[in-house]
Symmetry: C2
Subunit: 320 residues, 2 copies
């Protein structure tokens, strides 16, 4: 019996709330990529929407709940994608949105947060500093705080991706999920575990930001002193206990990949799938690259979770 | 009264035949691109499928019809995208597929035609030479010939895109459609004209391959001696009379754009929408760039029809 904070009926109901522009994203086999990786690869593409990441699925739930409750303002910390999505969803519901982000977050993410009408506050330091600052703002200004992966709506929104996968996978397949705060992994993992038995749920995190993976392995919260990865979208140091509890229920494995594999994954997604993606979206391909024997001949689904990347950095990494 | 070779009931029925992987493609507003172009831009993304172009919609109809009729083999001429799609659709139905293409077609298109199991015959010269050769092969080998834009299924398949657009457009909006042989323009144009009155149907062709546009303007078939464009997917010299007749019914305008605008369009789609596209897919953006006053403040939908592009050429053009 699967006991997490998630619930299938609520996830199914979420589809009625989320703007359809975020739902039913493309899911298709990419033979050119699969033949290079030695397995059958399906791509679940979460970038073809107004915010270019999967985060809109969750912020639609968050913002519609807040609007129902009569909230006027909301604040979140964001590596960059949640902030864009909350800006998009909040603006349509008349919410005053404040986003706290790292000053060194990709400029394109910061620009787009502003473009969606959100108030942007920048902090020096890493994502955890932004998280603390958002908590302070919520308390001092009396506005609602949205915490990615802790707020259940962020997990339920991501979980709707799972509903769109289960018809296309069967026992023996693997679903590769980028692991950051854990909303996508616990959300999609819950659905796959519940509705597609025998499908392996594999979380993938950078070696340079391994806190939640280490926590999953040790079955207790493990924090890290620092982080060092280009995958800005999944970089955190303080796993949330409730999220770890859920992850322990739904993940078959959590693996760590090198920066070199992430870059090679990005390059392969460009060359063989025609996709420009941000580093976090290449974690699944990186996992296959690092352990080809594990996936040989199998069907793997990789969720391309975002494409908000500074092009100059992209070209520096990918070399073209 | 709209009198073309197309029929709404047949187009609606086509949706039941086409593999769902090609249907319900993403349609979303791209504010970052729109703000640069001075209008509201919606993207209809036809590249997130196994063949990375819209052509699968048509070849699904073609191949399923042929299989029903007991055909064993089929041949087509292709600039590169039809051949991939016919390979994909034909292989799933046990058809022996032959594709005739230019030797100088983008290598990535030729490679993928082969990868989908099709037999590839290369010709020297332009697309019209390939078309003649396909006719000869069909006659000599007694196999069925598929002619893009003339075979009604290729138009009906493309027309299903129109069904997915009409709910999102209203009078005063413009739909920008790349014009090559005319299947997409007549198919989408028929549906938009029939179901979304007041929406402007604008076809866009390169100045370097203007035959069908010149024909539309003169209301008679105009051929050209040669072609010179990077937009290989829409390069033809001999318009098909039946297709021109339909186009005269459904198009409000047909415009020609420069190579420089096509390249700028490709660059803007990369920088502001995160999309790597082939030149033909940038024609819509190019049309806005060349006549910004016409579109200022309006809502335009541009169909991103394909992303099969040689990356080396892409980087040479786009410069990044």
């Amino acid at each position: 019996m699967l006991r997490t904070r998630l619930d299938l009926d609520r996830i199914r109901a979420a589809r009625e709330v989320v703007d359809p522009v975020f739902l039913a994203s493309p899911l298709y086999r990419c033979d050119a990529l699969g033949s290079r990786l030695g397995c059958t690869v399906s791509i679940k593409l979460e970038t073809a929407n107004p915010v270019r990441s999967f985060k809109g699925r969750g912020t639609e739930l968050v913002a519609s709940r807040l609007a129902e409750q009569g909230a006027a303002a909301v604040v979140c910390a964001s590596a960059g994608n949640l902030g864009q999505a909350l800006g998009w969803s909040g603006r349509r519901r008349g919410l005053d949105v404040t986003v706290v982000a790292r000053r060194l977050a990709p400029a394109v993410k910061l620009d787009r947060i502003r473009s969606f009408g959100a108030r942007l506050e920048l902090v020096d330091g890493d994502f955890e500093v932004a998280r603390e600052r958002a908590v302070t703002i919520a308390r001092e200004r009396g506005v609602r705080l949205v915490e990615d992966s802790l707020n259940i709506e962020t997990c339920e929104g991501a979980a709707t991706i799972g509903l769109e996968l289960v018809g296309a996978v069967s026992a023996g397949d693997a679903v590769l999920i980028a692991l950051g705060g854990g909303a996508m992994a616990t959300g999609v993992g819950h659905v796959v575990r519940a509705l597609a038995p025998g499908v392996e749920v594999i979380c993938v995190q950078p070696l340079g930001a391994p806190a939640l993976t280490l926590s999953w392995r040790e079955r207790r919260v493990v924090t890290t002193e620092s982080m060092d990865t280009i995958a800005d979208g999944v970089a955190g140091r303080f796993p949330i206990p409730e999220v770890l509890d859920d992850l322990l229920q739904v993940a078959d494995d959590a693996v760590l990949v090198s920066e070199a594999s992430i870059v090679t994954g990005m390059r392969m997604l460009l060359e063989h799938a025609g996709l420009v993606v941000e580093p976090s979206a290449a974690l699944g391909v990186a996992a296959v690259l690092e352990d080809p024997g594990r996936f040989a001949g199998r069907h793997v689904v990789t969720i391309i979770c975002g494409s908000n990347v500074d092009l100059d950095a992209y070209h520096r990494w990918v070399g073209r």
